[in-house]
């Protein structure tokens, strides 16, 4: 657990650098398509940065508000996927806990959070998102789900439990724009 704390702090520092990077005038002149979305306008505007105290929390609000998902939130921010998660959707997010991330081989998360691995990180995160909104019971009707990564994941039912790409759903929180299923493992794409 301590390790995770340290990790989070490192991450925080990293994020602070990353998000402030836009202040440097060179960022806007970057013409590499992979970094195009780092332009200042994408970073600071959009529904993700809209404060709303009346509407139901969206999937991003839920993740940000959860103490068990700080790693996931950090990853979403590093990959700059915030605005995709507040869209009208509907979106179904399979949200691995901090513990699920810590089960990955040592160094994996740190490596993914490096700026040069942003695309790979985004791909893995998109593998945790389905266009749709289904509760756990309803998910039992599916054999596979088509993820935003463009890959499919297998849906398995074992007793009362539902596994998505091998990750077990341990809790479910309905959101304004979809549903968050908390899972106990990171779902790794084949690709």
């Amino acid at each position: 657990m301590k390790l995770l704390f340290k990790f989070t702090f490192v991450l925080l520092g990293f994020l602070a650098i990353l998000s402030c990077k836009n202040n440097s005038p060179t960022a806007a002149e970057n013409t590499n398509p992979e970094n195009l979305s780092e332009k200042s306008s994408t970073k600071v505007q959009g529904q993700a940065f809209l404060k709303d105290d009346e509407a139901t929390a969206n999937v991003l609000d839920i993740a940000i508000g959860s103490p068990d998902h700080t790693t996931l939130v950090a990853a979403v921010q590093a990959a700059q996927l915030e605005n995709a998660l507040v869209n009208a959707g509907p979106l179904m997010v399979f949200a691995p806990t901090n513990e699920a991330f810590s089960k990955l081989p040592e160094g994996t998360v740190e490596n993914l959070l490096k700026p040069e691995n942003k695309e790979q990180l985004a791909f893995i995160l998109k593998h945790h998102v389905t266009p749709g909104k289904y509760d756990k019971e309803f998910l039992k009707k599916f054999k596979t789900l088509g993820q935003a990564s463009n890959e499919n994941v297998i849906v398995e039912v074992k007793g009362e439990d539902v596994y998505i790409g091998g990750a077990k759903i341990i809790a479910s929180i309905p959101a304004g724009n979809g549903i968050v299923h908390v899972v106990d493992a990171v779902i790794l794409p084949n690709n």
Binding site: L15, A16, S19, S40, T42, Q47, V73, P131
Partner: protein
């Protein structure tokens, strides 16, 4: 304790994000000033915009005319919905325009406008638009900017993959979204598979007068047909339709219509269809649909119910249709200006699939099929694939082209416009949309020669972009400059209804044809009068016809007596003005209808059924002149048993 620490971290994180966000926001503003975005959209008072944009109103049922780049609104053209401002669907002349086989329908869901073409280039004669809900195609005349024809489509339901024109406006094409039993009959919904059919309608357009005729329909498998585009250049003669629900599910489509990894783009050879018709292979089928035509001379619409349609069955006629496998429920189905590339926007995909027309023809000639669906050959995915734009965004929806080798695709889920290169499939630029963009439009983007200056993104959600107006906030479009390598967001502007899709054209092509007045001597309205000497009031039983005129600043007659409770009084009002931009209006107290707004030289009619005795005023509703407030009159209403004869006058004391 642990929780507190976590909370603090999360909070700090958020703080960092917001803190930096604010810094960059001010930077963003500097950037906009630096780039002169304001100057690029500023059209000085009295100056004209470069482009007309015709933006459909979605659920408003209408189409609005804007200027680009300013985003200024010029006119809302009533199409499928009653419009009290212009008396559309309220006055006696235009009520027949909204007639259908189901009777009078005051509303529809207007989606995809498309401007007529000659040799693949926008000719600016007409613009067509579809009504989704009660399937109809409307034609708007671009000299009067008024709806002049509406044709209903039988055997169709949710008329969505419409209304797109072929290169010479030979046809306006319309595909059904919902498959239904054809002909309609009483069967269990569970028997969908095999019993429900799709239909694709080909409406011919007379090159002389624009007259529309439902020439033929093609019976298709029971998929959902989503969007469509014509071939052009080498692929002229073909039409491409995206499909979803090739699973043929009738319930919970969000699950059941996403089971197949691939649906299809249906490639329809309409020249082949014409050959089959010549050979007598079409079958006449009973049908019932309304065909409504507005006549600019009589200023009156007529509605005719037609009872037959020519049907070609794709399952029985080889070579008519081929199916191109396309991943993940494709929405947009877009053909590039050369006619070679057919872009499938798989809305549940992160990739774009691009098919090659040449490869498709080669595969058809080699008879290299991967099975069939209801007798229609399925081509092999790899045989027809030109390329894939990989991981371009989330939820691709629609693609248009700038004519310079670039394509622009909207992504609904990731809410952005992505620019990519045809042929290399590389992403060149991406810009966010605020928020949840649907279609986009480049003026001329559906033709061989797009005007590649601007792209207009039409959003589904605005949230915080404008001053709030309660739970319902404005709908909105966003204009980007695409003249450079990178796109630049120039302007947000509000729209009327949902800006579902649009068509744009260079202003100089249209403005020279725009009509200024209707010539009085050409007015053939049966109740028109050409001068004040012809004004009269005629009784036929309890029906009274008032032949009335209006000119600055009085009605003739303006005093009428001898009307009785229980009469049906028709006011046929002719605007005698022959001056540009001098309409007059008229409204009668207690009339159960809208005002009339009558253009110079035009005649319109409203019905008034007086219920109480008394003397009732009417007045001009359009501020027409300095003496507008003097433009008024009275009608005396007597009891139903009164024997007071009819009389009418102007200026008699």
């Amino acid at each position: 304790m642990k929780k507190t620490i976590h909370f603090i971290i999360a909070f700090a994180l958020l703080g960092v994000l917001i803190g930096c966000g604010n810094n960059s926001q001010s930077k963003g503003k500097q950037g906009a000033l630096g780039s002169n975005a304001a100057e690029k959209v500023y059209v000085a008072p009295g100056e004209y915009d470069e482009y007309y944009a015709f933006i459909s109103g979605g659920f408003s049922g209408q189409m609005s005319v804007y200027g680009l780049p300013s985003g200024r609104l010029f006119k809302v053209i009533p199409v499928f919905s009653q419009d009290a401002e212009k008396a559309w669907g309220y006055n006696e002349e235009t009520k027949p325009m909204l007639n259908t086989s189901h009777g009078f329908i005051p509303w529809d869901d207007a989606h995809h406008p498309d401007i007529s073409q000659t040799n693949g280039i926008l000719d600016g004669r007409w613009i067509f638009i579809n009504g989704n809900n009660t399937p109809r195609i409307a034609k708007v005349d671009l000299t009067t900017f008024e709806t002049t024809e509406i044709i209903e489509l039988p055997n169709s339901a949710g008329n969505h993959s419409s209304s797109f024109v072929t290169e010479n406006t030979e046809y306006v094409v319309a595909g059904t979204r919902f498959s239904v039993p054809i002909p309609q009959r009483d069967i269990p919904i569970k028997e969908y598979k095999g019993n429900f059919k799709g239909s694709l309608s080909f409406i011919s357009v007379n090159p002389e007068d624009g007259g529309m005729d439902l020439k033929f329909q093609i019976m298709m498998p029971g998929f959902d047909y989503d969007l469509a585009h014509p071939g052009r250049g080498a692929s002229h003669g073909w039409f491409f339709f995206s499909t979803y629900n090739s699973e043929e599910a009738s319930t919970l489509l969000e699950v059941n219509a996403s089971q197949n990894d691939k649906d299809f783009i249906a490639a329809v050879n309409w020249k082949k269809a014409e050959e089959y018709i010549k050979e007598g292979k079409g079958k006449k089928m009973p049908a019932k649909y309304a065909h409504n035509v507005y006549n600019d001379k009589t200023h009156t619409a007529t509605s005719t119910i037609k009872e037959e349609v020519l049907m070609l069955d794709a399952s029985e006629l080889p070579g008519l249709v081929y199916l191109l496998p396309t991943p993940k429920s494709p929405h947009g189905c877009d053909v590039d200006p050369t006619g070679e590339y057919i872009v499938g926007n798989g809305k549940l995909s992160a990739n774009l699939t691009v098919h090659s027309f040449q490869k498709m023809i080669a595969a058809i000639e080699a008879k290299n099929f991967d099975g069939e669906a209801y007798g229609i050959p399925i081509l092999k995915f790899d045989d027809v694939l030109a390329g894939v734009v990989d991981q371009a965004g989330l939820g691709p929806l629609h693609t248009e082209f700038d004519g310079k080798g670039n394509a622009y695709t909207t992504f609904f889920i990731s809410s952005e416009v992505v620019k990519w290169k045809l042929g290399t499939w590389e992403v060149v630029d991406r810009q966010p949309c605020y928020y949840s963009v649907g279609h986009l439009m480049i003026p001329g983007g559906n033709s061989r020669e797009p005007f590649g200056d601007y792209v207009l993104a039409m959003n589904k959600i605005t949230k915080d972009r404008y001053l709030p107006t309660g739970p319902e906030v404005t709908q909105s479009a966003q204009l980007y400059d695409i003249r450079g390598e990178k796109m630049e967001l120039l302007l947000d502007f509000p729209t009327v209804g949902e800006p579902h899709y649009a068509a744009g054209i260079r202003a100089d092509i249209l403005m020279k044809n725009s009509k200024k007045i209707f010539k009085l001597e050409e007015n053939e309205h049966p109740f028109a009068i050409k001068n004040e000497g012809e004004t009269k009031v005629v009784r036929e039983g309890n029906v009274v016809h008032v032949y009335m005129s209006m000119i600055r600043s009085h009605f003739s007659p303006d005093n009428i007596e001898g009307i009785k409770v229980g009469d049906k009084v028709y006011f046929h009002v002719t605007n005698l003005e022959q001056d540009y931009d001098v309409p007059h209006g008229i409204s009668m107290i207690g009339a159960n209808t809208s005002e009339l707004l009558i253009m110079p030289g035009q005649t319109e009619t409203f019905l008034w059924e007086p219920k109480e005795v008394g003397v009732w005023p009417f007045y001009c509703t359009d501020f027409c002149s300095a003496l507008h407030q003097e433009m008024q009159g009275y009608v005396r209403v007597s009891s139903s048993s009164s024997t007071l004869p009819l009389s009418w006058s102007l200026g008699e004391e």
